[in-house]
């Protein structure tokens, strides 16, 4: 069990898979995803390695055709395609940006 992940998950207000196209958000933490079963810890690690870490700014840049899946996001200047299952592991908060 990865307790570090669970503690991040206290009252997640918003998850990445709930964001709209064009939204600019900041990562607050990662939570577990039962869909990945025993692989979940590994998926969390890989997400972190790719830069989905607390504080990292994200931009949602697009969605796939069916069920808005997968979604494309930009993190640290690099674009990634994520499925909703992975995106649901990522807790985010909107970035207050008066200029937007």
């Amino acid at each position: 069990m990865n307790t570090a992940l669970r503690s991040d998950a206290i009252a997640p207000a918003l998850r990445l898979d709930q964001c709209r196209k064009g939204a600019t958000v900041r990562v607050t933490g990662l939570i577990g995803q039962p869909l990945f079963g025993t692989q979940d810890e590994r998926v969390s690690l890989r997400l972190k390695e790719l830069g989905f870490l607390p504080g990292a700014p994200l931009k949602v840049i697009g969605f796939g055709l069916l069920g808005s899946d997968p979604l494309a996001v930009q993190v640290n200047g690099t674009k990634f395609a994520l499925r909703r299952a992975e995106a649901a592991k990522i807790c985010v908060e909107p970035i207050d940006n008066p200029s937007l």
């Binding site: 890989r46 972190k48 697009g62 055709l65 997968p70 690099t78 674009k79």
Partner: protein, 619 residues
Amino acid sequence: MSTPIRFALIGNPNCGKTSLFNRLTGARAKVANYPGVTVERRSGMVTGLTQPAELLDLPGTYSLFVTSPDEQVARDVILGQLAGERRPDLLIAVIDACNLRLGLRLVMELKSLNRPMILALNQMDEAKRRGISINTAALSQAIGIPIIETVAVNSQGVAELRKVLDGYAQQPAAPEGEQTLTLSDRQESVEALYAEIESIISQHVIQPAHLPRWQDRLDSLVMHPLLGLVVLFSILLVIFQAVFAWANPVVDLIDAGVIGLGGLVGAVLPDGILKDFIVDGLIAGVGGVLVFLPQIIILFFFILVLEDTGYLTRAAFLLDRPMRGLGLSGRSFIPLLSSFACAVPGIMATRTIADPRERFITIMVAPLMTCSARLPVYALIIAAFIPEQTVWGFFNLQGLTLFALYFAGVASAALIAWLMRRRASGREEFPLLLELPTYRWPMAYHLLMGLRERAWIFIRRVGTIILALSIVLWFLATFPGAPADATLPAIDYSFAGQLGHFMQPLFAPLGFNWQMCIALIPAMGAREVAVSALATVYAVGEESIDVALGSALAASWSLPVAYAYLAWFVYAPQCISTIAVVKRETNSAKATTFFTIYLFALAYFAAWATYQIASAIVG
């Protein structure tokens, strides 16, 4: 002599390791703009050093804590865990300067291995163009690793890298050794590592906040859920149109040349066995295949352009959801697309797929993507049977037929993947996590090298395997000669004739005549040989050798038979190399047997159904 020192290139996917490898060793390994082009280790000797030194090119990886078979290769080589492989003496970490954070993270992880390492900061030209300014000296000091700035595609900085490597090459190679690493060995948390990287970057690098705007604009078009699909299908349709419409004049020219050469040689040589051999065996057989070189080149031109721009991963993004319904994913898209060139590299490219079940299904259906070796067979039959006319204003009917044949393969692959997935429900899902590289204008150098390579592979196949099979077939079609009291054409008494007549009853329900049956056997070696085999069999059988093969076929096959033969080739005769690579990649005799039998059965059934239905319609 002592063993040469070993260098290994390691870095994130798509950061330019293979470009550097090509520059340093003079090799011509494939490079393109998508993650996962290199899926196995590759080795070469570094040129221009005073001491011999070996360089390893490895598949890209984001981390030593790997998730897919190609990443596993990179990690095993680095740690010296690959059986019979001495671990590298020096790691050359390659970082894309436009993607510093991701690259530096892997470097910091590698640093904890405490191995000699230098860093090649690649794609510096593009970084400067984007306004990224890196204080290399200070960065080098901060991370404690020597840094060399490189631009792999222009060989800039490669000379300096070579000089540094020459210094290391003077040292003796290290003895055997192995390092182990498990998930729990992760000493520092990812968070702490990134915090360190953030602080280093903020001190020594100035980065603009945004990518160039045109990149984002392009993405909002090609990744649009609806417009993106329109773009994708338009691109595919244009490719198939081009393969026919653009190639035809050149094909006709080569065709006329081959026939002319046959006539010329026929006129010069005295009648006899030598003339028959050269005209019917060599010129008809080999020339019959060589004719299709322009089409192969046009097909590869488009594939190379798509690979080099970075568009492929966007197509994978668009198709991920539809493909998931079939038990595949966007990750299977690129291996499947590669299979349009040839199923062998396509099946190897499945190593980038993390999910074993998905990888298995992708391997099983990859040969249903029409490989370029089938193109000559399709092109020959289409040109002979489908009228060259324009439909709906601008579509070439022959091009449309070709598109339909490719589509039949894709649709069948979808159906079979879906059937296979249904047998394995309730499994764990795997993440997609696919990096979408920045767009790049396709480089003329890559295109020319790629086309040259492809043309050369095709010509070499024509000159070796196809030539050899044509010669064998000519002998089989010529000997033994007809008996004195022969009532049938001489070829009916030859070995090929006998074999064809022996096989024919098995294929009679499909409408195949014995000549077609003969052509199926050498096609197992290389599918194009079906064309040269038909050319030889018909050239030996016919009295006049000055008719093009297409006309000979049009005269002797009915339309339903031609369709049935096309249907057969959509599915089957997997060449031996495909079966061999399936065996190697699945490492299972059972899977390989299943693969072989199911494709043959499908080919037989499809050809039978096509023949019966087409016969009923044509009447």
